[in-house]
Symmetry: C2
Subunit: 301 residues, 2 copies
């Protein structure tokens, strides 16, 4: 199969990235500036906040203030993670363009992460989905541990396919397949995707691959060959791996965009602006830049 | 084309890696221990030293002592870089199993790097090759800047093919294609390779890709699909990029072996031992580990 002519990047740095950053709570101003800079660089889909209880995730406690503070760019979708009814109500009130719900392909991971079975996790999202539908807000679904689980090891692709199908049937317009611990390699990624694509049309699937073992770009190149055209990534690789200290988590947006440009695939993103944003946010956070492109270009902020 | 069933890793950390490390000259003992640990981990081809004038490369001034110090493992080839006749004589005396000569696909790079034209660089290697042949020692050829040059930008694949063919005709048994500045992406790597393979049989070609822009594994996965079965890499990603401070150079051997294992491709290398070696050498050098697998596994030395 030919490579796609364009790819939509879903920038998850402001939410999935920052949420997993160690250290003190980041100022609302910084989060707002990050989102505005990403939009200005041409990113058209930004996961901006999580409407989760600040008791559980203090880093996202200012979700409403972040959403109120950003300058909306035309053509940019601002998404929010919504774990429950209260969350989706907050997201709707804040003017989120879409909400996201999440579960996993591993029973053990779901139990340890959100303290219920996969089936229960999906039931819990029914009122979230209903509220979003009533407000004509799109719903995106995340499936974690699609290529491996820290507790169970290998995950059966049929299980990924079954969970993805359930999210589709609930009303998700797109299912993002997360290699949460970054253990996948190209052929396994392709096999998993082929199985899932039996249940969910490939143009409703996204790749959310982590770079913990350095495999993310190879895996992305592999699944691009099979028709994937939506990729989740995080500027500067924000959000380390919570399972290995010092290790990488989300693949860096800059590295993905660099590869796509080299492959002649359009993203609408200005790589230099994106890299400058990555260098700026890492300076703000006092962390290393997790993007090799960011380091190589050495863009000033 | 199917992926190969096995790949030979050419470990370049002790030479190409250490030579490009900043900081003081590394003790001979450390270099010897590194090479011995790599061989014990199952690496069958190790670039161990460079017989270059210590005036130019102080880090390699102890090449003869390194070669004398290592414990030879059966089935392991110990290679040495040899820029001139004096170098090849030293390498032969030291018992090197093979020697390596080098040029580039870019005229500007060759001029700036070794102060002559590509044609002159090849002429200079004639006596080196003759000396090696007289001693029944194999000769490996390196071509730099195959996917881009810091001075010229894009490089015509025909130029890479022509230089590779000349090295083959001089008597090199294998030509290693170096993306010296790491700017390549998968489709460009495949196109370059296809052109070179018109001149040199693909089973006499090796991929030597740098990870400066994070693209190395994606590029390797791409060319594995085209029949490449020899890969140069550097444990712990030793040897940064000399053109961008803090940026990556050689792709880390651990990350390559992890991908190959996931693809079901044999290397004969014990990944845990290799990762432990990477963590050990980075501790010795007081540098960060450039291997994501090394960081994720967190192997003790």
């Amino acid at each position: 199969m030919a490579l796609p002519s364009s790819v939509r990047i879903v920038e998850v740095g402001p939410r999935d990235g920052l949420q997993n950053e160690a250290g003190p709570v980041i100022a609302t101003d910084i989060k707002v500036a990050l989102i505005n800079r990403l939009a200005a660089a041409g990113v058209s889909h930004i996961e901006a906040a999580s409407f989760v209880s600040p008791k559980w995730v203090p880093q996202m406690g200012d979700a409403a203030a972040v959403m109120a503070g950003i300058t909306r760019h035309d053509g940019v979708a601002y998404a929010a993670l919504t774990p429950n009814l209260r969350g989706v109500e907050g997201a709707i009130e804040s003017g989120a363009d879409e909400v996201a719900i999440f579960t996993a392909a591993s029973e053990s991971f779901t139990r340890k992460n959100i303290n219920c079975s996969i089936a229960e996790s999906l039931e819990r999202f029914v009122p979230v989905v209903e509220a979003a539908k009533r407000n004509n807000i799109r719903i995106r679904g995340y499936v974690s541990t699609v290529l491996g689980c820290p507790y169970e090891g290998d995950i059966d692709p049929s299980q990924v396919a079954a969970v993805s199908r359930e999210l589709l049937d609930m009303g998700c317009y797109e299912i993002s397949l997360g290699d949460t611990i970054g253990v996948g390699t190209p052929v396994r990624a392709r096999k998993m995707l082929a199985r899932v694509a039996n249940e969910v049309p490939i143009n409703q699937l996204a790749a959310h691959f982590h770079d913990t073992y350095g495999q993310a770009l190879a895996n992305l190149y592999a699944v691009l060959q099979d028709g994937i055209s939506v990729i989740d990534s995080s500027v500067a690789g924000l959000g380390g791996c919570p399972y290995a200290s010092g290790a990488s988590g989300n693949v860096a947006s800059e590295d993905v965009v660099y590869m796509l440009e080299g492959l002649g695939i359009k993203t609408g993103i200005d790589l230099k602006e994106l890299a400058a944003t990555g260098n700026w946010i890492t300076q703000q956070l006092g962390r290393n830049n997790g993007s090799k492109v960011g380091l190589a270009l050495g863009c000033s902020s």
